[in-house]
C-alpha cells in the first residue's frame, strides 16, 4: 500500500492537507481495500468523502505554478503529494516525509500528470463521528495498558521493598534497560522499522546491528534468535524480581551462567564479523552491570547451596523463550501481509 510503517498513508496525508475530517484507521483501511490501487481508484474513494477530483497531463510543466496545492503529482518512481509550489522550490510529501526540491529539478523528474481535488464545504469521512470515537478508544486502550502496567510495577517495587537496597534498584533499572534493548533487537530481527533502534545502532557503527542480525551467529543453533533469548531472559528476570524477590539469589546464578555468552558475542563482533552491533553491546553491558549488582549486593553468595526453586526459574526462562520463538514467525508474517496487502 502507499503507506509506511509509521502509519502515514497517502490518503490520510492528502486528506489532512485538504483539511477534510477523517480518521487514519478508516481511511487507511479503505485505501488498502479499494479495488483499483490507482489514481482512478483514489478519485472514486475521494468521492465518498465529498471530494471531486480530476487528472490532468501538463504539456508545459511550468503550469504546475498555476495549481493550488495540495495535489498529487506522478513521477516514474511513485506519486507524491505536492504541498507548496513556488517559482524556486517545490515542497512535497513522500511516504509522510516532507521534502523540498528546486522547482526546475522537480519538473524534470515529474512526468506531467497530476490529480487535482476539490473538496466540497461539507466534505468529510463517512460516519466520521463514529470512527473518531472508535479511534479514540483504540488509542486509549494502549494508554490504559501502559498506566495499569506502570501502577502495577510501582506497587510491586514498593510493596516488595525493592527500593530499599541499591542493588535491587540497580537490578530493576538494568533489567528494564536490557528489556528495552532486546525489544529493539527483536523488532529489527523481524524487520519492523523503529527510528529509536536506528539511532542507538548508529552510535558504534551505522548499519552494524542489521549486519550482525543477518549473520548465522545471530541464531542459537539456527533455532532461536539471540534477540529472543535476551528478551526472554530480561522479561522473566524482571517479573521474577518484582513478584518473587526471594528468588534473587537464583536470578544471580542464572545471570552468572549467561556471562560467557557476552565474551563470545564481543569476540565474534570484533574478530569474525568486524562489525559492531550497538544494541548487542548494550545487552552485554547490561548483563555485566547486573552481575556487579548481584555480586556486590551479596545475592550471588546466597545462591549456595542450590535450591530446587532454581528449576521452575529455569523452566520459566525456557518457556518464555519458546513461546516468543513460536510467535515471532506470526509477527513477521503479519507484518509482511500488511505490507503486501497494501500493494
Amino acid at each position: 500500500m502507499a503507506s509506511d510503517k509509521t502509519g502515514h498513508t497517502l490518503i490520510s496525508d492528502y486528506l489532512t492537507l485538504l483539511g477534510v475530517p477523517h480518521t487514519a484507521g478508516y481511511s487507511g483501511k479503505r485505501l488498502a481495500t479499494m479495488p483499483f490501487q490507482t489514481l482512478f481508484g483514489l478519485s472514486k474513494l475521494l468521492q465518498e468523502y465529498g471530494i471531486e477530483s480530476e487528472g490532468y497531463e501538463l504539456t508545459d510543466k511550468t503550469e504546475l505554478l498555476k495549481l493550488t496545492p495540495p495535489f498529487l503529482a506522478d513521477t516514474p518512481a511513485g506519486v507524491v503529494i505536492v504541498k507548496d509550489v513556488a517559482p524556486t522550490e517545490v515542497e512535497y510529501l513522500s511516504q509522510g516525509v516532507e521534502e523540498r526540491m528546486d522547482f526546475d529539478k522537480f519538473i524534470d523528474a515529474f512526468d506531467g500528470k497530476v490529480l487535482l481535488s476539490y473538496p466540497s464545504p461539507e466534505a468529510s469521512e463517512p460516519d466520521y463521528g463514529k470512527h473518531a470515537r472508535m479511534d479514540f478508544f483504540i488509542r486509549a486502550k494502549k494508554w490504559v495498558l501502559l498506566a495499569a502496567s506502570a501502577f502495577l510495577f510501582l506497587w510491586l517495587f514498593i510493596a516488595n521493598g525493592l527500593y530499599m537496597r541499591w542493588s535491587t534498584v540497580g537490578i530493576t533499572v538494568i533489567d528494564m534497560a536490557g528489556l528495552y534493548f532486546t525489544y529493539l533487537l527483536v523488532q529489527k530481527s523481524v524487520k519492523i522499522h523503529n527510528p529509536a533502534a536506528d539511532r542507538v545502532c548508529g552510535v558504534l557503527q551505522a548499519g552494524g546491528c542489521d549486519s550482525i542480525l543477518k549473520t548465522s551467529a545471530s541464531k542459537f543453533f539456527g533455532l532461536f534468535g539471540w534477540s529472543e533469548v535476551g528478551f526472554a531472559y530480561f522479561s522473566v528476570s524482571l517479573l521474577t524480581l518484582l513478584l518473587l524477590p526471594g528468588m534473587l539469589p537464583w536470578l544471580a546464578l542464572c545471570n552468572l551462567i549467561c556471562l560467557p555468552f557476552t565474551a563470545w558475542s564481543i569476540w565474534y563482533q570484533r574478530f569474525r564479523a568486524h562489525k559492531w552491533c550497538t544494541l548487542c553491546v548494550c545487552v552485554q553491558g547490561s548483563l555485566w552491570l547486573l552481575f556487579f549488582c548481584y555480586c556486590f549486593g551479596g545475592w550471588l553468595g546466597m545462591a549456595w547451596p542450590l535450591s530446587p526453586l532454581v528449576l521452575p526459574l529455569g523452566a520459566a526462562y525456557i518457556a518464555v523463550m519458546l513461546a516468543l520463538n513460536a510467535v515471532m514467525p506470526l509477527i513477521e508474517n503479519s507484518d509482511t501481509n500488511n505490507t503486501s496487502d497494501h500493494e
Binding site: T38, D60, K105, A123
Partner: protein
C-alpha cells in the same frame, strides 16, 4: 483538524484532461521508499540519458 481547503479548478493552457483509463494506469500501490530529491534527480537524469 484544519479548515477544509476550497480549491477552484485552474485555468490551464497546455493541460489535457486524463481519461479514467489513463488515471487507472497510474498506480499508487507501488511499494517504494521515501522519494528524496536526490532520487528524483537521478530519475530525471536517467530519463534524459535513455532519450539520448
Amino acid at each position: 483538524m484544519n479548515e477544509i481547503k476550497m480549491i477552484t479548478p485552474p485555468e490551464l493552457k497546455s493541460a489535457r484532461k486524463l481519461k479514467p483509463l489513463e488515471l487507472n494506469g497510474i498506480r499508487i500501490g507501488r511499494k517504494h521508499s521515501v522519494l528524496t530529491p536526490q532520487q528524483l534527480e537521478e530519475i530525471a537524469r536517467s530519463g534524459k540519458d535513455s532519450i539520448q
